[in-house]
Amino acid sequence: MWGGARGNDNEKSKGWNVVADVGSHGLVRLKEVAEKGSTAYRWEGGAERWRRKTEMAEACQVCCGLVTMAEVATMLGRRNLLSREDNDEARKQQRQSCARLLEPACWMMVLARVVEEGKNITQGYSHVEQLLDRISNGVLAEDRRSAITELQQVVAESSSAQLAFGAMGFPVLLSVLKEERDDTEIIRGSLETLVSALTPIDAVQGQKNEIRPASMNSDILSRESENISLLLSLLSEDDFYVRYYTLQLLTALLTHFSNRLQESILLIPHGIIRLMDMLMDREVIRNEALLLLTHLTREAEEIQKILVFEGAFEKIFSIIKEEGGSDGGVVVQDCIELLNNLVRNNASNQILLKETIGFEPLISILKLHRGSAYNFTQQKTINLLHALETVDLLLMGGPEGETIKNANRLSNQTAFAQKKIIDHLLMLGAESQWAPVTVRCRALRCIGNLVIRNPQNCDALANKLVGEEPHIEPALNAILRILLRTTVIPEFVAAEYVVKCFCEKNADGQATLASTMIQPSSGSRSNPRDDGAISFGSMLLQALVTSEPNGDLEMCSRACGVLSHILRDNAYSKDRVLQVKLEESVPSLGPPESLLFRLVKYLAFAASTKTGDKSQTITAGSGDGSYIQTIILQLLAIWLADCPNAVCCFLDSPSHLTCLLERVSNPHAGVFVRGLAALVLGECVLHNNSTENGRDAFAVVDAISQKVGLTSYLAQFDELLKAFDSRFSTAVSHKPPPRSSSASMLDVHEVENHNGLDHMEDHPNLTAILDPLFVTFVRKLEAGIREEFVDVYSRAKNKASILPSGLERRDGEVDGDYIKRLKFFVENQCRDMQDLLARNSNLAEELVRSGGHGAVEISAAKPSSGRERIQIDALRNELQEARRQLEMLKSQKAKMEEEVLFYQSTSGKLESDLKSLSDAYNSLEEANHRVESELKGVKIGANLSHSEVERIRTEAREEAQKEMESELNDLLVCLGQEQSKVEKLTTRLVELGDDVEKLLEGIGDEAGLPDEDEDIEEDE
């Protein structure tokens, strides 16, 4: 049915239907087969026959297994469909969709193939088979040769033929190579066929699971190291084509299975030497050998060494020279690529190069002549890039342990410097603006690597002048100008790299640059073209401050990066730059502003412009706008590190602290901004030696714990470090430009097209600044900050509590003084305690918040801070005290009321007593009156002797009067007593503050008494 499928289109689709049918029926079956593993190929006669075809095919099947067979089938099926020339788009598409349908059905097709005995072998397959048969069994030499030519053509054109060849052809051709050395023509043919079988045919665009017959064939051929030996032995043949094809064949094998090839070649005695010898062969062979050796040496240290032992360096350099150095063609590129392979991470070879040949020949590749300005062909650009890579590789030293590598790097740096490479590099990187930007960048990086951690070379760079009379200026100035002004990102990055390398571990260099930071007088400022005369520091300062606060901070941010390099780990520079005062353009507006203040101003400004724009700020971890904040914060972090003066200056303005706190607590600020702000805050604690209230470490800690909370503050560090980690894990390593010059040019253009700095996802300045060095710095600082926080918390501000011995009375101290001192001490302690309590409550709060409960919920409900809580506590205490007093007052009042009541009732009783007394008096009066009137009546009525009556009357009266008088006396005594009692009560009441008048009023007249009196009446 396969054959049917090759008929017209109708038939073909019918064929596919059958395939699909068979497939779906057989799928279950096939699974069983698959489970049986690699023996599956024996399952049906078809496979059996296939197996018998050749031993090689079996080997292939065994190793590749059933899956490979499935792939083979898919491949063949698809190729049958697609490889036929067909211009009719519609039909082509139809077929392609058919092929797509088949894609998942590859298993089915295997089945179809396996089931369909005989027919399953394609026409191409049988054709290859026939040809091979003619080659191995043919009698006539001519016929065999033509068979081999035909086979080569078939294999070169169709990948199904390549597959078929892979299944059957190798043993046939290998035995030809082994046994028929005398027949040059058939050997050539065999080799050419093998090359074709290993060369990929790019027909169908590579789908992922597509098998590559060329790669499979390479696999088969390279599996036996015996085959490699055989090939190497062919290199000694006289025939040019034999050697040529053999080299091509080996190169093809290397591109597919380099490790395997490297291993087997290493094990074959003189294997590498044989290949090396090819470099001495005629040009075509030599060029081929160069390519092969480049593949062979990739990441194979031992092979690299053997090559060098065999004199590879000498040969490479002599070829480069022959070809015209950097002006030479692609062969020069190949040479340098091989050279790079030999020295990459290979200290031994680097030493040998330096010791025996020296770097001179390498440097001479880099030499530019001033006249050659517009002579940059693509190839020259690529050649130079490769040579610069060699320089870089040598400057990086070997891979060994730090010390060896360091020694090697140092001695390579020195050797390069002795040969004046810096002149050529400056020419390429800083002077020749007509050199392609990729070359300029690469040269700048080399300058960085040349000076890094090498004091002599740093000095050399610092003293170098570039340019031609009269426009001569220091090289570093030229590099700074490139850094500040370039519109090409990679060039900025490269220039920044030079400054960074120059400053690293170069205290003198840093200090020199810092000491030139003087603001040029306004006269020269208006004339910016006069850069030649301006110092490095002034140029830098200008870049830092000329940005208008509402303008673009790009230049400022670049300058910040540079400044951070100058300040890093350099106490002198930090203090020096702290002194830098900025002249206001309008004078007399107060004292001149310091540079530090200006930078914080920019920070605040950058922050303020971001807040409105949330969509951007959320992702702004490294995004385009917040990078300025990040960079300024990074600079501050570097500046404030180990520099109490800078901390003090920074805290001079309370708004600075607030600004940082805002950055840390702002969830819309990027992770770097928050983290770095936290870092700078931490430095304000860690490196704070101020004792001034409000500016000391305590104040900063308190501010942090109040505004941000300790937990969330410390969490910023974790986040920051996490962000660093993910940053470095995603960083891509640099790759050398590929050999194909078209691709290389793409690269070149790509670099040159990047001139919109603002549209970068990750600003290059950040990449340059947030480097591993800075991360190490952050890690160290973070640990220090955490420790310092613990320390601050475990120490009292006034240090009162730690002077117990001072409590003793001093000799001759008077009581008053002693008491004063003790009082002062106690006051201090009291304050400390308040302080500690406040912190304690803050901490407890943090603890509660961070432990278990939803942080949000609590933070919503919590009293806004510990300090307030303390205040509340104090208020509560006061309240309680007041309440207690109130209570006391109340009870006093009640008691008083009780007393009042008592006195009231007493006075009531007295009153009634008084009444009854007066009643008694009245009745006495009455009685007296009656007696008198009786007497009268008696006097009048009875007319008794007057004298008698008179006597009686007098007697009675005297008697009555006596009686009355004594009663009255009693009464008066009583009254007097009562009166004094009332008086006493009154004073008492006055004492108690009660309204005596009112009470007495009540007593005086029955009505109008207040409520209480009613109660009293009721009680009575």
Partner: protein
């Protein structure tokens, strides 16, 4: 950098006999008491003077361990001289000499000069191979012989220089086709005529590579 001749040496012998130490003593005048197993090969270089001529020695110190043998064999063919080292305190290293020679004869060029070195002569109290035995073996196989100590530097200089002198003599005698670099000998660009340059170069020698 200028030299009259450049000679390539290899140092071979069992593991632990002191090959790397000999090289280090020769190039850096240092002794390394800890055994740093050599992996593959290590390179060292030094300038010496013979007959007033500056001669650059390129020396490849090979790993003695069996597993590296196939790699180290690649260095035989292109070497002009070989230092075959055994350890006088370990008899088996002496017993293996024959197989080392066998290897050398098979892979090296026939004119390679071989210097037999009985190393660790400072450890005479633990000697397991007598000086005479070493001499005898060298005589039988046409080798130059010396006992040396990488530790005390005794005979180290001499071992390398005598080998060079022998090669130099072979050149003078016309044994080599010097233009064929596969013998491990190269004629330098400068210094071949005047002895003055040679002396200058030799004074820089030593400690030039790490």
């Amino acid at each position: 950098m200028s030299y009259a001749y450049l000679f390539k040496y290899i140092i071979i012998g069992d593991t632990g006999v002191g090959k790397s130490c000999l090289l280090l003593q020769f190039t850096d005048k240092r002794f390394q008491p800890v055994h740093d197993l050599t992996i593959g090969v290590e390179f060292g270089a030094r300038m010496i003077t013979i007959d007033n001529k500056p001669i650059k020695l390129q020396i490849w110190d090979t790993a003695g361990q069996e597993s590296f043998r196939s790699i180290t064999r690649s260095y035989y063919r292109g070497a002009a001289g070989a230092l075959l080292v055994y350890d006088i305190t370990r008899r088996e290293t002496f017993n293996h000499l024959a197989s080392w020679l066998e290897d050398a004869r098979q892979h090296a060029n026939a004119n390679m000069t071989i210097m037999l070195i009985g190393n660790k002569s400072d450890l005479s109290h633990r000697r397991a191979v007598s000086t005479e035995e070493g001499q005898q073996f060298a005589k039988e196989h046409g080798l130059i012989f010396m006992e040396a100590s990488a530790k005390t530097a005794q005979n180290v200089e001499e071992a390398f220089i005598n080998t060079a002198a022998t090669i130099y003599k072979k050149i003078q005698d016309g044994v080599f086709d010097v233009s064929n670099e596969s013998y491990g000998i190269k004629i330098g660009y400068g210094g071949i005529q005047g002895p003055a340059g040679g002396r200058e170069s030799s004074s820089q020698a030593g400690g030039c590579c790490s």
